[in-house]
């Protein structure tokens, strides 16, 4: 694959691994989510440019919208957690633990 594609894939993979293996803070997971979103945005943007098709030009905008919603929800969870428990440590989210 080209250098461009490598950068997208590696950014996405590293961010998803970071999402999976975050340990202490919730915010690191959210940051990883943002970086995943960023790499997907860049991929979706360069795709119509490479294939010279104009129809999918709208897709990055759609993705941005949804990611903005998702980031908002993530931040809301962060704020709620910090307000109830005083910090955003992950071990506070243990209501479902058996």
């Amino acid at each position: 694959m080209t250098f461009l594609h490598l950068s997208f894939y590696s950014a996405f993979t590293l961010s998803s691994l970071g999402l999976a293996f975050h340990r202490i803070h919730l915010i690191s997971a959210l940051l990883c989510l943002e970086s995943m979103m960023l790499s997907m945005y860049m991929a979706l943007s360069t795709w119509p440019a490479q294939t010279q098709t104009t129809s999918p030009s709208l897709t990055p905008i759609l993705m941005l919208t949804f990611s903005a919603c998702e980031a908002g929800i993530g931040l809301a969870i962060l704020v709620a957690s910090s307000r109830t428990h005083g910090s955003d440590h992950l071990h506070n989210l243990n209501l479902l633990q058996c």
Binding site: S16, L17, L19, A20, F21, H22, R23, L90, L93, N94, L95, L96, Q97, C98
Partner: protein
């Protein structure tokens, strides 16, 4: 003088006379049977049965009577069919004579029995069943007699039903007879489906009888006549009173199997496989029984094994295709065997219940009549020339030696003949001669005519019966007349060898050497290990198979392990493993998510 009618009427009168003690209490008011009346009935019956026998001997008159028919189905009729031929006409007087003597003896033997009349009635019922068996011409009537003797045997062996061994012995007799009955019913079923009749005459024109009904008949004879394989009930049947042993298990019931084979002989004649089977089975039975008799110490058991051995010899004769000779042996055997049992009964009662020959001795001086007749009986059994047993036994051995047959069967029979001499002489020596080994507090008295008359009568029969029967009844097949001297005297030579062996061994018992155990002694005294092996093995195997199929396979396996409970166990196992992973923490979930993505990626690129 309408002689066929006289033949018919006298035979039927014989049977009717025997029925009177059973029917009179129902017909006459306040009629009470008593032992002496029943004995007189049998004596009268014997005298009447001499008439048809005389008619047969002098005129060769035979008869078949059809009575009433039982219309079972439209094409299958079962008549009441009596066949009065050589076998039944000769058997009736002999059986009635022996029974009369035994009943006279029983009036003394069972005198202290409170239910003596019932005992006599049982014996009478048995006799009627046996005579029905003898005179039957179709297999249905034979089967009625067959089952009748089986049931009476059960009731009579277990006469002292308070004794556990007597009950076990009676049960053993019934079970082994039942296995033989399966063979009988197989033959009946085959003939009903193939020939559409149960008449024995209709079975003879077949050129080559298939093996299946013959196997059934041989199985029936094995069960009833205690051949090897179904033999343990005969020694165990000695638990019954001595008159029962004398009547049933020596003269009459146990020969019923051989009698069946004699009756259906035309079927056997054409099938060499069946004849060889009879021959080998008979040879094996006779040797096995003779081996077991060598180390027995109970006088009744020795005589029981002797009976078993002679039955094997009769089976050998059937295998040689000589039914008339087998019947001759049945007739002569009845006399001396019944007498041997009656002598042993007299000895046992006089010694106050002692049955072990190691505790008898020197009885020749105190019981002269009994011991003389015991000696005569033993000599007749061994085939001493010109006593009763000689005419049948010597002829059998001669026929065996001069015919083309299996050498193994021949050698076994000859060995068994010498063993017969050995155990008979051993019994005589230990019982009659030497010093007394009984307790000194017994009262020996044999001066009762109820003891001496039957025994001497049967002794007379043992001496003369062979001569009389062979003089008056001509054989249908010519016996072998020419053979080398060694072959002719084979029976006597091996009998003498057996006697010498017994005399030599008895000298050993006078010296005080401690007896050592060796495998042959163990084999002989435990009756060939047959009883514990089969009785325990077969029942445990049957029961464990039943348990495996019913309980383990069906209940446990299908309904539990592989059915609903197995499913539940499987689910439970899976749930238990995955419970540790389902912790509710996001970290573990995300980690497993990454792991699965990794696995998918790796597997998709390859």
């Amino acid at each position: 003088m309408d002689l066929p009618m006289i033949l018919n009427i006298s035979m039927l009168l014989t049977l009717a006379t025997l029925l009177t003690p059973l029917l009179s209490p129902l017909l006459v008011k306040n009629y009470k049977n008593s032992p002496s009346t029943i004995m007189q009935t049998v004596k009268t019956s014997f005298l009447i049965s001499l008439i048809p026998m005389t008619l047969f001997i002098y005129l060769g008159m035979e008869n078949i009577t059809y009575f009433w028919e039982w219309k079972l189905a439209t094409n299958f009729k079962i008549p009441l069919n009596f066949k009065m031929d050589q076998y039944s006409l000769m058997f009736f007087p002999i059986a009635l004579f022996v029974t009369w003597s035994i009943l006279q003896f029983t009036t003394w033997y069972m005198a202290s029995e409170p239910q003596i009349t019932k005992f006599f009635l049982f014996l009478l019922t048995f006799l009627i069943a046996m005579l029905t068996l003898t005179i039957a011409n179709n297999m249905f009537l034979l089967f009625i007699g067959w089952e009748g003797v089986g049931i009476m045997s059960f009731l009579l062996i277990g006469w002292w039903h308070g004794r556990a061994e007597a009950n076990t012995a009676a049960l053993q007799a019934v079970l082994y007879n039942r296995i033989g009955d399966i063979g009988f019913i197989l033959c009946m079923a085959w003939s009903a489906t193939t020939i559409n009749s149960w008449d024995i005459q209709q079975l003879s024109p077949l050129n080559q009888t298939p093996l299946l009904p013959l196997i059934g008949l041989i199985l029936a004879a094995t069960g009833k006549s205690a051949q090897f394989g179904l033999h343990p009930w005969l020694p165990a049947a000695m638990e019954g009173p001595t008159p029962v042993s004398a009547l049933l298990h020596s003269s009459t019931m146990v020969v019923a199997g051989i009698f069946l084979l004699i009756r259906t002989h035309p079927m056997l004649h054409s099938n060499p496989t069946a004849l060889t089977l009879c021959l080998c089975l008979g040879a094996l039975s006779t040797l096995f029984a003779a081996t077991c008799a060598l180390t027995q110490n109970d006088i009744k058991k020795i005589i029981a094994f002797s009976t078993s051995s002679q039955l094997g010899l009769m089976m050998v004769t059937i295998g040689l295709d000589l039914p008339q000779l087998a019947f001759l042996h049945i007739s002569t055997h009845a006399f001396f065997k019944a007498m041997l049992f009656l002598c042993s009964g007299s000895i046992i009662h006089n010694l106050n219940g002692e049955q072990d020959i190691r505790k008898m001795g020197g009885l020749q001086k105190t019981l002269p009549t009994t011991t003389s007749c015991l000696t005569i009986g033993n000599l007749a059994l061994m085939g001493t020339p010109f006593l009763a047993g000689f005419y049948s036994k010597d002829l059998i051995i001669e026929s065996m030696n001069t015919s083309y047959l299996n050498t193994w069967a021949l050698s076994l029979t000859l060995l068994a003949t010498s063993f017969t001499a050995t155990y008979s002489i051993r019994m005589s020596l230990l019982v009659q001669t030497g010093f007394t080994r009984t307790t000194p507090t017994i009262l020996i008295n044999e001066n009762n005519p109820a003891i001496t008359n039957p025994i001497t009568r049967l002794a007379l029969g043992s001496i003369t019966a062979g001569l009389l029967i062979t003089t008056y009844i001509l054989p249908t097949k010519t016996p072998p007349m020419t053979m080398p001297t060694t072959t002719k005297t084979t029976a006597i030579i091996i009998t003498l060898l057996g006697i010498l062996l017994a005399l030599e061994l008895s000298k050993m018992t006078h010296t005080l050497i401690k007896p050592k155990q060796n495998p042959l002694l163990n084999f002989s005294s435990t009756l060939g290990y047959f009883n514990p092996l089969t009785h325990r093995l077969s029942s445990t195997q049957l029961l464990t198979t039943g348990q495996k199929i019913a309980s383990h396979l069906i209940d446990l396996s299908w309904y539990k392990k592989m059915g609903p409970e197995g499913l539940a166990t499987l689910q439970l196992k899976a749930a238990k493993i995955s419970t540790t992973l389902h912790t509710g923490l996001i970290k573990t979930y995300l980690m497993s998510f990454a792991l699965s993505i990794l696995i998918i990626l790796i597997s998709s690129t390859q």
